[in-house]
């Protein structure tokens, strides 16, 4: 049988899933937990605690700072040390709450038992109740971008949701956090999908899983064999299948138009498996989002592993737990090698969207020398959005913003396929990002002027 996948472009980077079979460990508590106030897309959260306040695990420490925003909960018990600026994954000093850890005392409202709660046992849960609970628990997209989940579940009036697609693709090399979560908490994820479907008032759910995870495909197929509403879709392996638009194309064969259109405009709401699990915990266990699955990996890391980690734990602690930083020149990424962000310091904490800490070493750490473009058009072939990366990059470098906007630069999903495939190692994506951010701010200014 021919497997589904998205239509245009795509690449096949080396998998390097070193930790697929490593059972998730529970990371030890940090001495000090750090919570940056912007861990999500949108307005930063507003702190509601002060220096010296006592907090427990699950205490609200910062409330949502606007409509597109999310609250933050403490993942440790202890005393608030200070509200200060720290280096976060953006590479800049940003405001954060720092808590000194003392013991491990949880809020009483959190259900810490392992008992599986299903939607059938809780008929009282309405769509609004689920969405409110998800909003209050601070659940955001767990795949990396960190868009608040409740907004995705309440589509604009012009669009109508028809199905939920759970993203179990994990197409980034190295990362296995989602895979381990699927293997270890399949039942909870399915309940989470149930909740999402109820919240969005749809009766069709898909789970997209790439063929390189056959055990997960079999596991989910067995568990959903007698549920006609849910379809497991095995997908051919190709990067960037985990991109929302690519996944919608692969699973339900619909193409999302250019921005500002979003997947729900074609009837699909895409959620990561991590988000589905977080929704389950938030609604059924009354547990806000303060823990996540994270992979710490790299070819030179002694014991690469998957962790269930409390947010706010510095990456340094996790890397130490895996045997420490390798000798020599290293490049540490928050995220995978394709879309991860290089860090300037490893004291950056694990946030809601940190699915992996990848340590690249030796010749992988450094970029290769840039050579002239040989007009091979490989970047055009692999671009999953059907753009012309070489053209966008050149126009951006020449600061021809009008032209670059006309060439649909805002459709770029920054997957990095063009740069990966370029035989001349040209910094295509760096230039495109530059152009994209400039064009985005131009459009924003224009819209503001219109109002």
């Amino acid at each position: 049988m021919k497997l589904h996948t998205f239509k245009i472009g795509g690449i096949h980077p080396e998998e390097n899933k070193l930790t697929s079979d490593v059972v998730t460990k529970v990371a030890s508590l940090p001495k000090q937990a750090i919570y940056p106030l912007s861990q999500h897309i949108g307005a930063p959260a507003k702190p509601v605690v002060q220096k010296g306040d006592k907090v427990k695990v699950g205490t609200l420490i910062a409330e949502a700072g606007g409509f597109v925003s999310a609250p933050i909960y403490s993942s440790v018990s202890g005393t608030v040390f200070k509200v200060d600026t720290i280096f976060d994954a953006t590479g800049y000093r940003k405001p954060a709450i720092i808590i000194n850890v003392e013991g491990d005392e949880w809020e009483d409202s959190i259900d810490r038992s392992d008992k599986l709660e299903t939607l059938a046992n809780h008929p009282e849960l309405t769509s609004e109740a689920i969405i409110n609970r998800v909003k209050d628990a601070g659940v955001t997209g767990m795949g990396g971008a960190g868009f608040p989940t409740f907004i995705k579940l309440t589509p604009p009036p012009t669009a109508k949701a028809e199905c939920i697609i759970i993203n179990g693709v994990e197409c980034e090399p190295y990362i296995t956090a989602d895979y381990r979560l699927m293997m270890e908490h399949a039942d909870e994820i399915l309940v989470g999908l149930d909740l999402l479907m109820k919240a969005a008032k749809v009766d069709k759910g898909y789970i997209g899983i790439e063929e390189n995870k056959p055990e997960a495909i079999t596991l989910f197929k067995n568990k959903t064999a007698d549920d006609s509403r849910i379809t497991i879709v095995p997908l051919a392996q190709k990067y960037p299948q985990g991109g929302e638009k690519q996944l919608v194309d692969a699973v339900i064969k619909r193409q999302v138009p250019a921005p500002p259109a979003i997947p729900v405009n074609v009837g699909a709401i895409v959620q990561n498996v991590g988000s589905a699990y977080a929704v389950y915990q938030a609604v059924m266990k009354n547990k806000p989002l303060f823990e996540r699955y994270t992979t710490v990996t790299g070819k030179k890391i002694k014991n690469p592993a998957n962790f269930l980690v409390r947010m706010g734990t510095p990456m340094r602690d996790l890397i130490e737990a895996c045997g420490g930083m390798p000798d020599g020149e290293n490049k540490v990424l928050a995220g995978g090698p394709m879309m991860g962000k290089a860090l300037t310091t490893i004291d950056v904490p694990i946030c809601k969207g940190t699915n992996s800490v990848t340590v690249l070493t030796d010749n992988n750490a450094r970029r290769k020398a840039v050579q002239p473009c040989i007009r091979c058009a490989k970047c055009v072939n692999v671009c999953p959005m059907g753009l012309e990366p070489y053209l966008l990059a050149t126009l951006s470098a020449k600061q021809n913003w009008e032209k670059v906007e006309a060439e649909d630069i805002t459709s770029c999903i920054e997957c990095g396929s063009c740069q990966f495939t370029c035989p001349s190692h040209r910094p295509i994506l760096d230039n495109i990002r530059l152009g994209k951010s400039t064009v985005m701010s131009m459009i924003k200014a224009r819209n503001a002027a219109k109002k």
Binding site: G91, A365, P427, N431, L434
Partner: protein, 299 residues
Amino acid sequence: MNFILIAVIVLGTIALVSSVVLYVVSKKFAVKEDPRLEQVLSILPGANCGGCGFPGCSGMSDALVKAADNGSLDGLLCPVGGQETMGRVADLLGMAISNTEPMAAVVRCNGSCEMRPRISEYNGLRNCKAMNACGAGETGCGYGCLGCGDCVSACQFDAIHMNRETGLPEVDEDKCTSCGACVKACPRHIIELRKKGPKNRRIYVSCVNKDRGAIASKACKAACIGCGKCLKECQFDAITIENNLSYIDFTKCRLCRKCESVCPTHAIASTNFPQRKTVVETPKTNTDNSINKEETEVK
């Protein structure tokens, strides 16, 4: 023979008819242009730098002529041509101009390699804007110069160059026309246009770091820590401190240099002053640096 004759007659007729048509059209549809536009344009430097705020020199000449018709040239200045050019334009248009002070670009960062230790290495596109989007840069200072030279490539007058030793851009004030291209190019807003000053003497806070003093000085030894000593010393109310950062208002500064000598981190820089005769007692180290700085700027 007949062929040649026919060809000559046919082509000749076409030429005649076309010339008549062209003549009539050029007379009938002639665009009446203000002759002053062309004259003003010929006075303007022709660099098309956009420093005046108009699209190129023709845009500026358009604006000048319109302003002259409205009765005042105030607020219009060609930064490249300066007072001289504006005077000639005013003569031509029969207007008077108000005197504006000449300006020069000033780089407000003193984070040289020795002052600001590198904590990481940037390996991407060598471009300040791209580097700025990736984070604080190679040092711990999220405000200071990134050193990739966007300002250098933006300058059309060859007036700004990177100093290899310090890794910071330096402005050649003789060539600087204060067009402001570098000010726009710098993603960190470090470069500022300041009054050129008598004998090119200027005093400014050479730092834009808004972090708390302890954090700023950890990232860079030459950072302004917002201690407020300069504020107390200034007798002319020229200094303000906001967000842990001192700023000297060049319209109020009288160039007394008192603030410079009290600054504990030597964040206040001065240009083109003669060497001080008496050696000011500066605490502990850093004395060498301040002397070096003066020397390099004299060069």
